[in-house]
Amino acid sequence: METEGTYDVQAIRAQFPILSRKVKGKDLVYLDNAATAQKPLAVIDALVHYYSHYNANIHRGLHTLADEATAAYEASRTAVKDFVGASSPDEIIFTKGTTDSINLVAHSWGKSFLQEGDEIIITSLEHHANIVPWQMIAAEKKAILRVIPIDDNGILDMEAFKAMLGPKTKFVSVIHVSNALGIINPVEEIIRLAHEQHAVVLVDGAQSSVHLDIDVQTLGCDFYVFSGHKIYGPTGVGVLYGRRDLLESMPPYQGGGEMIKEVRFEYTTYNELPFKFEAGTPNIADVIALKAGIDFINSIGKPAIRKHEEMLLEYATAQLKDISGLRIIGDVKNKVSVISFIIDGVHPQDLAILLDNQGVAVRTGHHCAQPLMHRLGIVGTTRASFAAYNTLEEIDVLTQALNKSLKMLL
């Protein structure tokens, strides 16, 4: 096993109970991390500990359990604030996930500020979660959805973007890192150019939050959204970072408990940030356990994880390129540890079934990015994505399993 300087991958693996299980009699090789990351014991323990020791509804109760639960919930908000470099915890809204965060912005911001003929710009690389909410609000407001084109490698056509920008541009919503291909988009430049036109910018950080150093103030984005389960946290919790003045100018998304200041039958006044956008009893347990996921990342450090993942990516890329008929989609320099590929004459589904029988978990299909697949002229890809706990040996297993599958199929 490799030990990269002080990077002890075995010690990291030991924190993930699931990694010691077998699949169909083989050691699990989990390479579907871009879909969801596995959970360290600390995250699982945080969930169990909350329900075993201090389960209570938060913010309103005056008893000890409510105090403890509220403190843990708000500690998680502060951890998220630090994780993305926001200036205040008030700018961190807990949601169900990336999709929920984008829907919140599209509906709340869009309802108040979009007008007929206004333009919203997205990219050809978007996940459906950053397409459909904008289509919905655009249809309602008679606004226009425009799409930045890409070249055959998945690189954004920035000249086309510049030509698209104008006084009609009101919102730009871009995927930071392509979930399907792993490509890192030049969001800093996109934000700068969009801001020159006074457009608001949302960065979909579902794939970037776990790999890249995120500082929303340096980036200068107006919104940054991501999901807890992709950063080693639980499912069902996500984050919306929003600039305070924007969040304050936006109406609540949902009405109910928590988000109110005063309710009469004649009128309601709304709570302050961030509670204005957190109607109802939130997902307390998962929010609290999200902090354990962030703590896990911080305990190693993103730069160290990134260095390890880059080594895995480089090794896997070289290995896979040796396979005859295999073509990497989005084979560019600036990407995270994701390899999306197709093989001549092989359907991705066949590959996934045969890899699964060898204990290897990868993702196949359109990756919830059908317009991208359509643009690239393919039905889907096979995607291997690497995390902090993956090893070079696992990539050898992937390569051997791929070769064996191809021998069976061709």
Binding site: H347, P348, Q349, A352, I353, N357, T364, V379, G380, M408
Partner: protein, 140 residues
């Protein structure tokens, strides 16, 4: 021509065949081989509205009657699924409509296909069977 064997008979033959396979490789090699041997479906029947949804690959089933019995042809863009299409055709082809509609098709569990194919993919298989039974019901 009437298939001299009942659905139940053919299911039993398949259970016997599959019981000889000792490894997952043999089972899948059999399906892949079946997929490769399946006669291609006339492109005229491979239309968007005839496509069966339910999995990552596309499946088409063309059904017709001959001498009062229901016949099937089919195709898929994925080879293992094509093998499954071939397997289902092997079991249901040339049988009376009533028999097809009422067949419990328990062999699928017995030969371990439901456990070997993950849920989403066996849903594709389920969608395929549903379509064949529906066609048989309409044609009968």
């Amino acid at each position: 021509m009437n298939n001299p064997k009942t659905i139940k008979n053919i299911e039993q033959d398949l259970i016997d065949d599959f019981s000889l396979f000792e490894t997952w490789e043999e089972k899948y090699e059999y399906l892949i081989d079946l997929g490769k041997k399946l006669a291609p479906l006339d492109p005229a029947f491979k239309t968007e509205d005839r496509k069966i949804k339910g999995c990552q690959s596309s499946v088409w089933i063309h059904s017709y009657t001959k001498d009062g019995l229901v016949h099937f042809e089919g195709d898929s863009d994925a080879i293992i699924v094509r093998g499954l299409v071939g397997l289902m055709i092997m079991v249901l082809n040339g049988q009376p409509s009533k028999e097809i509609v009422g067949a419990p098709l328990e062999f699928i569990n017995t030969i371990g296909l439901s456990s070997h194919l993950a849920q989403t993919r066996s849903n594709g298989l389920r969608a395929m069977i549903k379509q064949m039974k529906m066609d048989a019901g309409v044609l009968g």
